[in-house]
């Protein structure tokens, strides 16, 4: 079953003091992930960014797998990051929005291999001054994966939820003009509808603080005969 999963953490909405406390981060990071951070390549990566980067990879992995395993319960310390590569081109500039089709050049991203039971997934993440965002896929080439992030002007839950849906629909409308809507599946993932028909486009939404993000899978060769 094709799936997608993404997540975003607004760095202004997390408790920085608590992030550095062992009893907090040990509930998110496995022992091997705590050791991994000691490697030289992460010397310039603040621990707060490392922790929320791995959190977003784990949450995205959970969302990806939940579609085919509805009984799955999120347990971050049991989703294990096998390796993490830092981007060859790092920029910590202020970035209010980001959009990518097929998630661009792999070297722009933090890239991880993730293991949960017998499932292996791959992640691509970006870190800005204000957020950490991730998308995961079951193929490390990320073909046909679309991903976008945007800042909004409100932080309340309902405003954010609406903004995330609108961002996703605007992007899909680019390929499929007309009235599209989003329903929520019983498991909780978004289902994109054209009139009464499920478009069968796997999609994922996330929001935190004033940031919203989507990911979806679309093979234009099949869908539009391009």
């Amino acid at each position: 079953m094709k799936s997608t999963g993404n997540d975003i953490v607004a760095l202004g909405s997390v408790d920085k003091h608590r992030t550095g406390q062992y009893r907090f981060y040990s509930k998110i990071l496995s022992a091997s992930e705590q050791t991994l951070y000691q490697q030289m390549q992460f010397a310039n990566l603040p621990f707060e960014h490392y922790l929320w980067l791995l959190w977003s990879v784990k949450e995205s992995t959970f969302k990806f797998l939940k579609r085919s395993k509805p009984e799955l319960i999120f347990s971050p310390a049991k989703i294990i990051i096998q390796y993490l590569e830092i981007p060859a081109m790092q920029s910590m500039t202020k970035m209010d929005s980001y959009q990518s089709e097929f998630t661009g050049n792999a070297e722009e991203f933090y890239r991880a291999k993730v293991n949960f039971g017998s499932d292996i997934l791959y992640s691509r993440s970006k870190i800005s001054k204000d957020w950490v965002a991730t998308v995961v896929n079951d193929d490390e080439r990320f073909e046909n994966v679309y991903w976008g992030i945007q800042a909004t002007d409100g932080t309340d839950y309902y405003h954010q939820s609406k903004a995330a849906r609108s961002l996703l629909l605007n992007k899909i409308n680019f390929f499929f003009p007309g009235d599209l809507t989003i329903k929520k599946s019983p498991i909780g993932y978004p289902v994109i509808m054209q009139a009464t028909e499920d478009m069968k486009i796997p999609a994922s939404l996330a929001h935190h603080g004033r940031f919203v993000t989507y990911s979806f899978i679309l093979n234009l060769f099949i869908e539009l005969g391009i």
Binding site: V9, S13, V14, D15, R18, R23, F24, K27, I28, W52, W55, E59, I73, F74, S75, P76, A77, K78, D156, Y157, G188, H208
Partner: protein
């Protein structure tokens, strides 16, 4: 300590992490922290840490993953309080 008392105390633990104060006032054991109270998943660890401090208990991974409904939070808290008694 009984379940009703813990439920009342849990409202104070959950309050900083939900905007839905009306729903919080009316929580019951079936209330889902994420689906009903719209608590961001990134705050679930905060809630576990706050519950640990409130009840002077330690919540392990296996127990923490059960804490997605108010009733299961009460189960875990009571279980851990009994273990440390």
């Amino acid at each position: 300590m009984d379940r009703k008392t813990i439920l009342i105390e849990l409202k104070k633990v959950l309050a900083p992490y939900t905007e839905n104060k009306e729903m919080l006032d009316g929580i019951n054991e079936d209330t889902d922290l994420i689906k009903d109270l719209k608590i961001n998943s990134a705050n679930i660890v905060d809630i576990i840490i706050d519950a640990e401090s409130q009840y002077k208990i330690e919540i392990d991974f296996d127990s923490a993953e059960k804490m997605y409904k108010v009733g299961s939070c009460i189960d875990v808290i009571l279980d851990k309080m009994n273990q440390s008694a």
